[in-house]
C-alpha cells in the first residue's frame, strides 16, 4: 500500500508566525514570496478547508492540528469554512480553485470526476468505512434488509442511497423493486420518529443513530458492508487537481499537520473534544454526550491500523467502489479510479 508518513516537520518551521501572513493570497496558488526572508523562514500561506458539515467530532483532528500549532509549523494559516446548506458547495469551490481543501464523500468524488469533469482529487481518507447505514425503529421488527420489501425507505435526495438500498436488499435475498424509496430531503430523524417512513438510508451511525437512541428510539441498523456494498471511505479530503499537481508541497505539508492532529486525537479523545468545543467557544455549545459517543464510534473507523499512516488510501478500494457504482449506473463514461486520488507524502 501507499503510505503517507506522519513526517515530522523541521523544528525551524515552528518559528514561522502568522504575523507574516502574506495577504489574502488566492488559496492553492503560489503565494507571493517575501524575498528577503524566503530562505530562512517558510512564508506563511493562507489555505482554506471547507468542512462537510458543521464542526463535530470527526473534525477534531483538524482543530487539534490548528490548536497545537502543527499547521503553523508547516507555514500554513488555515481557515475553516462552514459548510453550506448545499452540501456540494465544497467540492465545486475546490474544483473552481476558490478554496484549497474540502471534506467530501468518496463515491461523490467519483461522480464529480466521471460525470461532471470537476477537477478534484482525494488526498487522504478520513473515515475509512461507511457511516451511512439503513436504520429503522426496532419496533418494526426488521431482521434483514429483505424485510424492507413492501416498505418505504426515506433518503436524502442523494442517488447513492438508492444504489445502497438496492444492493443491500438484493444481497439479503429480497427484491429491490418491492421497496418504495421516498425522497425525504433533510428531515431524516423526524421522518423516522413520526413513522412517516419505515426506514431511512443516509443516516450516520455516529449521528442520526446516536441522536435517535438518545431520544429513546431504539434502532435496528443494517450496515451496507454487511450486505454486498463494497467498503468505501465515508469521508476524504479533496483538493483541486491543479493544486495536487503544481503545489504538491502544500498538500503534503497540510496532510503532515493533519496526521499529527489525528495522532493527538487518538491519544486523548476527550481532550480532542475539548479543543473542538473551545474552537467554537460559547457560540455553539456542543452536545457533549452525543459527541463523545460519536468519537468512540469514529476512532476505529478513522484509524488505518497496522501501523499504517493516517489517511492512506488503497487503490483497490477505489477500484471496487468505482466498479460497483458503475454497475449501479451511478457513473458514466471513463472512470479511471486510480487518478481520483493522490497520496500525500508518497
Amino acid at each position: 500500500g501507499k503510505a503517507a508518513g506522519p513526517a515530522p516537520s523541521a523544528p525551524a518551521a515552528g518559528a514561522a508566525t502568522s504575523g507574516q501572513a502574506a495577504g489574502p493570497a488566492a488559496s492553492g496558488q503560489v503565494p507571493a514570496q517575501s524575498g528577503a526572508q524566503a530562505g530562512a523562514q517558510r512564508p506563511v500561506r493562507d489555505v482554506s478547508v471547507v468542512l462537510d458539515w458543521y464542526p463535530n467530532a470527526v473534525h477534531s483532528f483538524l482543530y487539534l492540528a490548528q490548536e497545537n500549532g502543527y499547521f503553523e509549523q508547516e507555514g500554513l494559516k488555515v481557515t475553516f469554512k462552514m459548510p453550506a446548506e448545499n452540501p456540494t458547495d465544497g467540492i465545486k469551490l475546490v474544483g473552481a480553485g476558490r478554496e484549497t481543501f474540502a471534506l467530501y464523500y468518496q463515491p461523490d468524488v467519483l461522480v464529480a470526476r466521471a460525470n461532471e469533469q470537476i477537477p478534484i482529487v482525494s488526498l487522504g481518507a478520513v473515515v475509512r468505512h461507511p457511516l451511512n447505514a439503513v436504520m429503522a425503529r426496532q419496533s418494526k421488527g426488521f431482521k434483514s434488509p429483505r424485510d424492507l420489501e413492501g416498505k418505504t425507505v426515506g433518503y436524502p435526495s442523494i442517488p447513492l442511497n438508492l444504489a445502497i438500498v438496492r444492493t443491500m436488499v438484493k444481497s439479503a435475498g429480497g427484491d429491490p423493486d418491492k421497496v418504495t424509496m421516498k425522497d425525504i430531503a433533510w428531515d431524516l430523524i423526524p421522518a423516522v420518529a413520526t413513522d412517516k417512513v419505515d426506514a431511512i438510508s443516509g443516516g450516520y451511525i455516529n449521528h442520526e443513530r446516536v441522536l435517535l437512541e438518545k431520544q429513546g428510539i431504539p434502532l435496528t441498523v443494517f450496515r451496507p458492508t454487511d450486505f454486498g456494498v463494497p467498503d468505501y471511505y465515508e469521508l476524504v479530503v479533496i483538493t483541486g487537481e491543479k493544486t495536487a499537481r503544481e503545489d504538491r508541497a502544500l498538500v503534503e505539508a497540510f496532510w503532515r499537520a493533519a496526521a499529527r492532529g489525528f495522532a493527538d486525537m487518538k491519544k486523548d479523545p476527550r481532550h480532542a473534544l475539548d479543543v473542538l468545543q473551545k474552537h467554537q467557544a460559547k457560540e455553539f455549545p456542543l452536545d457533549r454526550e452525543v459527541e463523545e459517543k460519536s468519537i468512540q464510534i469514529l476512532l476505529p473507523l478513522m484509524d488505518p491500523g497496522d501501523g499504517r499512516a493516517f489517511g492512506v488510501q488503497d487503490a483497490a478500494t477505489w477500484r471496487q467502489v468505482a466498479e460497483w457504482m458503475k454497475g449501479q449506473g451511478l457513473l458514466k463514461g471513463d472512470v479511471k479510479p486510480d487518478e481520483a486520488f493522490i497520496t500525500a507524502g508518497g
Binding site: 448545499n86 467540492i91 461532471e116 436524502p156 435526495s157 442517488p159 425522497d183 433533510w186 428531515d187 413520526t194
Partner: protein, 261 residues
C-alpha cells in the same frame, strides 16, 4: 396596435435579453467559469431539451399544481387576515406581530412540524407556499383597506352605513390596487414556496428534480429546472397583472383619452 408599434415595443427588451444571454455565454467561456458552478446558457438549453420528457411531463405539472393551489390559498389567507385585522383593531394589534414573525421563521426550522402535521402531501407543499406568500398580500391589502378616501367614508358614515357597509363599499374597492400589487408579488413568490415545500420531501416536482441535480452535481439540468421555475413565476405574474388591468380599469385611466380616437 400596429405591427411596427409592436416591434418598437418589444424589440428593446428582446435585444436586452439576447444581450444578457450572450454576455452570460461569453462570460462563462472567456472567464473560464467552471460549468459545474455556472453552466453557459447553451448547456442549459441542451439539458432542457435532453430532459424535456421528465421536466415537462412529470415535474412541471406537479409544481404548477402546487403553485396554483398554494397561490390561491395564499390569496385567501392573506385577504382573510387583512380583512379581519381591518375590521377588528384588537385583532390587528394581536395578529400583526405574529404575522410579521411568521415571515422570519426559517422553514427548515419548523419543517419537522410540517412533516408531522401534513406528511409528504400536496397539503404540505401548499402550507409552505402559503407561509411564504400570504404575507405580502396581507400587508398590502391591510394598508389598502386603510387607504380609503376619508371623505368618502364620511359620506357613508353620515348616511348611517354600518361598519360592514363601509368596509365593502368603500374600503374593499380602495384596497384593490394595493391588493393587486401584493398579489403579483405573491404570484412570483409562490413558485419559490412550492419549491421549498418540495425540498422538504417529495417524489416529483421541479424542486425535487433540482435538489437531486444538486446532489449529483449536475449544474446544467439544475439550471434548466430553475429556468422552468422562472417561466412558471413569470406566467403567474403576468396572469395576475392581466387580471388586475381587467378588474380595476378605473385605476389605469391614465391611458384613456390621451389620444383622440
Amino acid at each position: 396596435m400596429t405591427g411596427g408599434g409592436l416591434a418598437r415595443q418589444w424589440a428593446p427588451p428582446a435585444l436586452l435579453m439576447a444581450g444578457l444571454l450572450a454576455a452570460w455565454e461569453a462570460g462563462c467561456r472567456l472567464l473560464r467559469v467552471p460549468a459545474f458552478i455556472l453552466p453557459p446558457p447553451s448547456a442549459v438549453a441542451a439539458a432542457l431539451w435532453e430532459m424535456r420528457e421528465p421536466l415537462f411531463r412529470v415535474h412541471l405539472p406537479v409544481t404548477a399544481l402546487e403553485v396554483a393551489v398554494g397561490f390561491v390559498a395564499s390569496g385567501v389567507v392573506g385577504v382573510a387576515l387583512a380583512a379581519a385585522m381591518r375590521l377588528s383593531p384588537h385583532l390587528a394589534r394581536a395578529l400583526y406581530p405574529l404575522v410579521v414573525a411568521s415571515q422570519t421563521i426559517p422553514v427548515i426550522a419548523i419543517s419537522p412540524v410540517f412533516l408531522l402535521w401534513f406528511g409528504y402531501t400536496l397539503t404540505q407543499k401548499v402550507a409552505v407556499t402559503v407561509l411564504i406568500s400570504f404575507f405580502t398580500v396581507t400587508v398590502n391589502t391591510y394598508d389598502g383597506l386603510r387607504s380609503a378616501d376619508p371623505d368618502l367614508v364620511d359620506l357613508l358614515r353620515a348616511a348611517g352605513a354600518t361598519r360592514w357597509q363601509i368596509f365593502t363599499r368603500a374600503e374593499v374597492p380602495s384596497a384593490l390596487p394595493l391588493f393587486f400589487s401584493g398579489l403579483k408579488v405573491a404570484a412570483a413568490v409562490s413558485v419559490i414556496g412550492a419549491t421549498i415545500g418540495e425540498w422538504l420531501g417529495g417524489e416529483a416536482g421541479l424542486g425535487v428534480f433540482g435538489r437531486r441535480m444538486v446532489s449529483s452535481l449536475r449544474a446544467a439540468p439544475l439550471f434548466a429546472s430553475v429556468f422552468l421555475l422562472s417561466l412558471l413565476g413569470i406566467g403567474f405574474f403576468l396572469l395576475i397583472a392581466w387580471v388586475e388591468r381587467w378588474a380595476i380599469p378605473w385605476h389605469f385611466r391614465e391611458v384613456q383619452g390621451r389620444r383622440s380616437a
